[in-house]
Amino acid sequence: MTERRSVAIHVPVLARVEGEGALDLRIEQGDIAELRLRIFEPPRFFEKFLEGRHYSEIPDMVARICGICPVAYQVTAAQALERLFNVELSPWAQAMRRVFYCGEWIQSHSLHIHLLAAPDFFGCSSAIELARIAPDEVRRGLRIQGLGNELMDLFGARSVHPVGVRVGGFHGAPSLAHIRDMREKLRAALPEAEALIRWAAAIPVPQDDQAFVSVATQHPADYAIERGEIVTSDGLRIGAEAFDAHFAERHEPHSTALFSTYHGQPYLVGPLARLNLNHAHLPGAIRALLADIGFVLPSRNLFHSLLARAVEIWLALHEALRLLDGYRVPDSPWVPATPRAGVTTGCTEAPRGLLWHRYEMDAEGRVVNARIVPPTSQNQGRIEEDLRLSLLNFGLDHPDDALRLHCEKVIRNYDPCISCATHFLRMNVARI
């Protein structure tokens, strides 16, 4: 008869996760008695910093929340404020917001795939180890990432904390010569992105099958990035203003990040949730490629997240190229805005998932209060649920190191950006 183990494990550091957090796992008599994703990084009070600030400062301030996805914060804030001020973007600005956002998806996804997630599946402890055994693939990934940065640079003057977005459009417009050069690079990168998808699809991943609700924005015109309504895989469709009626944030003592629930349950945001909900909006060429590699959507296996990011890189390159075709420098890259008092909301798809902003503004255009719900806090409950299910599916009798690696892989599927600050997650496992 096999004895059911009760074991205590202490794993002090789990790398390649953004921010400071910990995982506590207690296994008693062969069952999970406690599992908590504990985020102990101090709160950053960004929403409080925004109070009293003029609307013109908001895009640049919220960009500082994240060094990897500043565009998401800028575009979401601008969208919310433009809605309140009844600003209608020019077709040029609307299209270039999407192009700008594509740059962020390209760089963020490529960095995550190659530096954070992929090493797990090749038995490597770091991207540097992976680079030794797959140098061409990692270099390709860094080239793609660099192109994403260039695209952000083009519209934001720099790729980290860019400064291009303003309420009403952009501060400036790139020259035709710069756009021509960028189009050539995007065109050249598409075959590399296809090769990346095939490489990602060939990586053996655990077979997992979980029931969860996917949440993402959706737009009738295209694969939603910078606009759209919020939809869920169980049939909800709402505007950003109705978010609070269906989604709630709550504080848990073990975490300084809020947990979000949808009708009281955890839910998934991010690339796989988007693909699950919006795969019909993918261009025909990529749908054919997915059929060719056998990637069936929707997927209930979170280990498809790496592949989902690769697919979205291809999509973002394709979209940027499409929207820059026939580019013309506009007479003005922005339209004027007149502030007014009121409450407004906005939502877009940050690389890691749905990003929701709410602002109460006064008549002078100053922030009375602000709320920002980032993707990682929305995924936090789902990560805990996933860890529990994945570990049970994986089997608790594996050696401690194997359990720890499995937990790390699960967590990294979500590309959590715990605070956009530091880079360690400590894990304490106790078996009794």
């Binding site: 790398a15 390649r16 953004e18 530096l115 770091s126 270099r139 940065n149």
Partner: protein
């Protein structure tokens, strides 16, 4: 004629400007070399540093460092002395050693790479670099200029 690239890495934060101050001082002292010389000031270049290492025969890289030593102390690192802390490699904070280690794994390090660190104390955003850091930057610039002159003979 060799291609030499001199990279000063930093940020606008007090002593963290050490790399920038060094290449500024190098430019000020009118560095003379028969080599094809490129001097860049970089602000936290991340992975883009890798591309700058290619197509150079000799790269001289200067960055700030903190090891608990006296501020202003200059250290030179050979490849076998690079600290191995890449476990923390992150998309948010891809540091100089991470990028150099990746370049080494790709096999694209230049034939000669001189890596210098200037020990710093405070890196306050918007602040001036301390006098000891500025003096160290000038001293290192003179040393690099002498190296370049020697190599040109």
């Amino acid at each position: 004629m060799s291609k030499v690239r001199i990279l000063g890495i930093g940020s606008p934060s007090g002593d963290d400007q050490a790399g920038w101050l060094t290449v500024d001082a190098l430019a000020d002292c009118g560095v003379q070399s028969e080599h094809e010389l490129a001097i860049d000031k970089l602000d936290r270049p991340g992975a883009s540093l890798i591309g700058l290492l290619e197509q150079a025969d000799w790269v001289i890289l200067v960055d700030a460092m903190q090891s608990g030593d006296r501020p202003g102390r200059i250290k030179r690192f050979d490849q076998d002395a690079w600290p191995g802390y890449t476990q923390g490699l992150s998309s948010h904070g891809l540091g100089v050693l991470d990028a150099l280690s990746l370049a080494r794994a790709f096999g694209i390090l230049p034939p000669r790479l001189d890596l210098y660190g200037i020990e710093i104390a405070l890196a306050c955003p918007g602040g001036e670099a301390g006098d000891d850091i500025q003096a160290a930057a000038r001293q290192l610039a003179r040393h690099i200029a002498a190296d370049l002159a020697t190599a040109s003979r």
